[in-house]
């Protein structure tokens, strides 16, 4: 099975969010980037599990600049065979999807996996866009997947529940919690990752469709109002009269 895993970098979950250049740019100074957790924990590890069960290869692809290579090496250390970086500082999801689609067309992949969203812009866009570019079915928010021959059976989240679906490969699958068990790279993996192939290919020049003009931070929350634990009637009254939520 030929598996492609799309990864993205994301600011560490504890990053303090601030903006610069008159609130038009995310302030990257001091920000530690990690592999987007959904891409790493669920998509990449699921790819590796499938390779271990069925044979084949796991290729990583990312759209980014030379600065992103540390995150790619980290992903390689977890166990992929090789990686490709499409050389572009992408400005929106449309560009990322178009560039990855352009790359994936050449590879005849059986399965394209990615996380359900990145933890910075939370767009959940690339998977569906990629599937449309490649005319493949898109299974979103998969929690489990079993591949039997050329057919995949997946459990996916739907509003208020779970749906079990079946589709023939090739497929694009976005991976949510439950899909795989997080793996920590070991020393052997980290050493091996240094010499694994990391190919760099030029971007094809896909157009940017949307742009962030400005950012803002929410107004600081006013101090918490403490309620006597013995007086829950007061809390109920506040929720009714003041917050007006019940």
């Amino acid at each position: 099975m030929k598996i492609l895993v799309c990864i993205s970098k994301a600011p560490d979950t504890t990053t303090k969010i601030s903006f610069t250049d008159g609130d038009t740019k995310f302030d990257e100074s001091g920000v530690k980037y990690i592999v987007n957790p959904y891409d790493e924990w669920y998509a990449l590890v699921k790819g590796l599990e499938l390779k271990e069960a069925h044979g084949g290869t796991v290729t990583i692809v990312t759209v980014g600049t030379a600065e992103d290579e540390a995150t790619i090496r980290k992903a390689l250390a977890i166990g992929a065979d090789d990686a490709t970086r499409i050389d572009l500082k992408a400005e929106d999801a449309g560009q990322v999807a178009a560039e990855i689609a352009n790359f994936a067309k050449e590879g005849a992949y059986d399965l394209i996996l990615l996380g359900k969203e990145t933890i910075d812009y939370n767009g959940s866009k690339v998977g569906g866009m990629l599937a449309e570019h490649l005319d493949m079915p898109f299974i979103s928010l998969a929690e489990s997947m079993v591949v039997n021959g050329t057919t995949a059976t997946l459990d996916k989240e739907i509003i208020g529940g779970i749906q079990t679906v079946e589709a023939d490969l090739p497929l694009v699958v976005s991976c949510a919690k439950g899909m795989a068990e997080q793996r920590i790279p070991n020393m052997r993996g980290i050493m091996a990752a240094r010499t694994k192939p990391l190919n760099i290919v030029p971007a094809s020049g896909a157009a940017q469709q949307t742009s962030f003009e400005k950012y803002a931070l929410p107004a600081p929350k006013s101090a918490v109002k403490l309620i006597d634990p013995n007086n829950m009637d007061e809390l109920v009254q506040l929720l009714h009269n003041e917050a007006k939520v019940i």
Partner: protein
């Protein structure tokens, strides 16, 4: 301007999020709602109350296959001459809108939390609700994916005309084998009131404290990551960075310390109540109302107080 809205009408009732997107679209232009399946004409006509001029329904397919919905929406956009398409940013919108964006070469703005500004930029949530952004769309056509609970549905009009149409939806390539919808539960992403428990509740055998309060309030139940990781509660109840993000009117958290990853999933809530024995718990900083006390004592008291309140109102 002509605006197209997709809604899912397959459920027993039309979801509140559908009324929200119609209300929203009405503020941008003349609204045509597009849906599919077997929903009664009378059920669809009520969308007119929220501002829909017309409802187009494709009776040729049921369900939520994203490729079929994409083809139907593209057909409808051409038929109506719409340049703006609005989805609810729920699990269907997240699967469908990106595909449609490629098919129609329409810039997609997701995580939208309000109506476009005078300069045309669209306000969105970014960084898991820790910041806002204002997005410009550079294409002629645009797709807006509106976060649930961002706008109050407004009843302004009367019944809409319902028209059957052929959306050229084609065949699906994804076979649905089974659909499991836990009965009687309020779906978490749509819930206006949510009661949530964390590790402080010590074990699944104590969850009746959460369930009793939720039942009394008519709330959905949720949990923190350690709770779903330990299988005390199902995964779909996990709210937070790696679970789901919710935006209810009221979020009551008991025995949850409020790690930044948990806050990322709930900081869009209108009102947050935190119950914790530790006055230093970080969650109190994000809370509107705090109760420093033992959840095992406070929750039953709160349940009683709600019961009393409901009886007297």
């Amino acid at each position: 301007m002509s605006v197209l809205v997709y809604i899912n009408s397959n459920g027993e009732k039309i979801a509140k999020s559908a009324f929200e997107v119609v209300t929203y679209a009405k503020k941008i232009g003349e609204v045509t709602v597009v849906t599919n399946g077997k929903a009664d004409e009378s059920k669809l006509a009520q969308l007119g109350k929220y501002g829909a001029s017309k409802v187009l329904v494709d009776r040729s397919f049921d369900g939520i296959d994203e490729q079929q919905i994409v083809r139907m929406m593209a057909t409808a956009a051409e038929k109506v001459g719409a340049n703006t398409i609005v989805f609810s940013d729920d699990l269907i919108g997240k699967a469908v809108a990106p595909r449609l964006s490629v098919k129609m070469n329409a810039g997609l703005v997701s995580g939208v939390n309000g109506i476009p500004n005078a300069d045309g930029t669209i306000p969105v949530n970014v960084f898991s609700g820790k910041a806002f952004g204002f997005v410009k769309v550079n294409t002629d056509k645009k797709i807006i994916s509106l976060l649930p609970n961002s706008i109050q549905p407004e009843e302004t009009g009367s019944d809409a005309a319902v028209e059957e149409f052929d959306g050229n939806a084609g065949e699906t390539r994804v076979k649905v084998k089974e659909t499991k919808l836990p009965e009687g539960d309020i779906p978490l992403p749509e819930a206006e009131l949510v009661v949530s428990g964390g590790r402080g509740l010590k074990g699944p055998e104590n969850w009746n404290l959460i369930l009793d309060l939720a039942k009394e309030l008519g709330a959905a139940t949720a949990c923190s990551r350690p709770v779903s990781d330990s299988d005390w509660r199902p995964h779909h109840e996990h709210v937070g960075q790696t679970g789901i993000a919710i935006r209810p009117n009221l979020y009551i958290a008991a025995g949850i310390s409020g790690a930044i990853q948990h806050l990322a999933g709930v900081n869009g809530s209108k009102t947050i109540v935190v119950i914790n024995t530790d006055p230093e718990a970080p969650f109190f900083k994000a809370a509107d109302y705090g109760v420093v006390g033992d959840a095992f004592e406070v929750l039953p008291r709160l349940t009683e107080a709600v019961k009393k309140f409901k009886a007297s109102n």
